[in-house]
Symmetry: C2
Subunit: 268 residues, 2 copies
């Protein structure tokens, strides 16, 4: 596993170093489109899972060792596949490949929405969150189309605009961006909206089956329910044909709840 | 798999129904101590992973089916083990076993800290967060001792106090509690503090090895770094011998960043 440190370091002086990862795996069309889009902005390196890791949330791999193998997947882009989760990929990229923080970390393009509550379950967004925890400006991109045959051309145009802006203005400390893109032709996309995460959830439904030995098993499915009628939410923006951009933080403290909790005597 | 719906429903009229889960697996001493502590507050049911699921974050299982088996692990407590993640356990409990929301969801007692940034990686906390997303008052408990031989007696006293208070005052909508307990004898625990999540991170370090075939592999390790000198943080409270209670939310929006992001023109 040669890390080609020299290549990356030389590039650094001239152009931003951009780490690309995802959760659908290194061979997914979404990451290929993201890699191609990012080439114009800097020197791209890819560290991505060797298999699909959707819905892995912020999982990390601590009970088994990780493999990291250099692969030839993208033209003129140093690429590694990793046996771990999207978060593991970011950690390995920073610590074992780049030996420094990249200038930007982008994750995706996810095949399917990561809007509203999906941010919590999403491996795509967890990779971007890990980038932000590392202090790297980080963005997760998702297209509202689960198909492997999705048309990523409109997404690429929108991503160009967003990345150009982020490289220009930076991101407030401790924040990353959750970008969702409607599955529309470019001419139908109305623009880009800064939004808040809609108050929504999955109402789980399990498909209960019996295996050939008569034992029960369950497939997790669910129904998405949006409780939020706000016109400042990502769900609203997407439903109206806008790209939604939600700034996300990894301070999970419900600061507003602290005074309420302090109204009681907590110790006997 | 009989769900014993009748037992649970009958109980409901008289006493709270309390769902207990964890991420260390159904046989861990921590969950046994939590189950025993909760019995005084209501009718306890357990749905927990059949194997350790630490650091699984908010992962859910969508690419393979789930097993859910009734087991005899705890005296007079209906218990199920699940092949999935802690979040899967909560979903299955609500949807396939209880067929309604329990009155309280508690997760733990985790073997090891889930303070500050650990909330993001923790399966214990993700189970509690899933409970909160379902609209259930939810609490994750962790003891600052990774050993399976840890003394949980002081934790049990502190948990009693906290649960009694939460059943009394409830929790603000959209919030759950992240409770961490210092590894001290009861006489040395100074009290309970409502805190915010400290600004801290893991600086990853990988233990790079070669397998017998000469191929590289990596064990994820790391060093915890606290950047936060605030005396209102969980790290501060724990370092001073207090139990830390952080209200946590699943709206990840960095609301404060929205005005900054709105200063630029986002569309070409």
């Amino acid at each position: 596993m040669a890390t080609k440190k020299s290549t990356v370091k030389k590039a650094k002086a001239k152009r931003p170093v951009i780490l690309v990862t995802n959760d659908d795996g290194i061979t997914a069309p979404g990451i290929r489109n993201l890699v191609e889009t990012m080439k114009q902005f800097g020197d791209v390196i890819v560290v991505a899972p060797d298999s699909p890791q959707s819905a892995m949330g912020h999982a990390i791999t601590i009970n088994r060792p990780l493999r990291l193998d250099k692969v030839e997947v993208f033209e003129q882009v140093d690429s590694w596949q990793c046996s771990g989760t999207p978060v593991d990929c970011v950690k390995l990229a920073v610590n074992q490949i780049l030996h420094r923080k990249p200038d930007l970390c982008v994750s995706g393009i996810n095949h399917g929405s990561n809007s509203s509550i999906n941010v919590i379950y999403s491996g795509t967004m967890s990779a971007a969150m890990e980038g932000a925890i590392e202090g790297i400006p980080s963005i997760g991109f998702s297209l509202l189309n689960y198909s492997m045959q999705a048309d990523f051309a409109p997404s690429r145009k929108m991503i160009e605009t967003i990345v150009r802006n982020v490289l220009h203005i930076g991101l407030p400390e401790g924040t990353l961006l959750n970008v969702n893109i409607p599955d529309l032709p470019l001419s139908k996309i109305k623009g880009i909206r800064i939004c808040r995460q809609a108050n929504a959830k999955w109402k789980e439904e399990f498909d209960h089956r019996k295996d050939p030995n008569g034992r029960d098993y369950f497939w997790l499915t669910g129904k998405f329910i949006n409780f939020d009628s706000g016109i400042d939410t990502d769900e609203w923006a997407l439903s109206k044909g806008y790209v939604s951009v939600v700034p996300v933080q990894f301070d999970f403290t419900a600061h507003h709840a602290i005074p309420h909790l302090n109204t009681v005597k907590w110790h006997d």
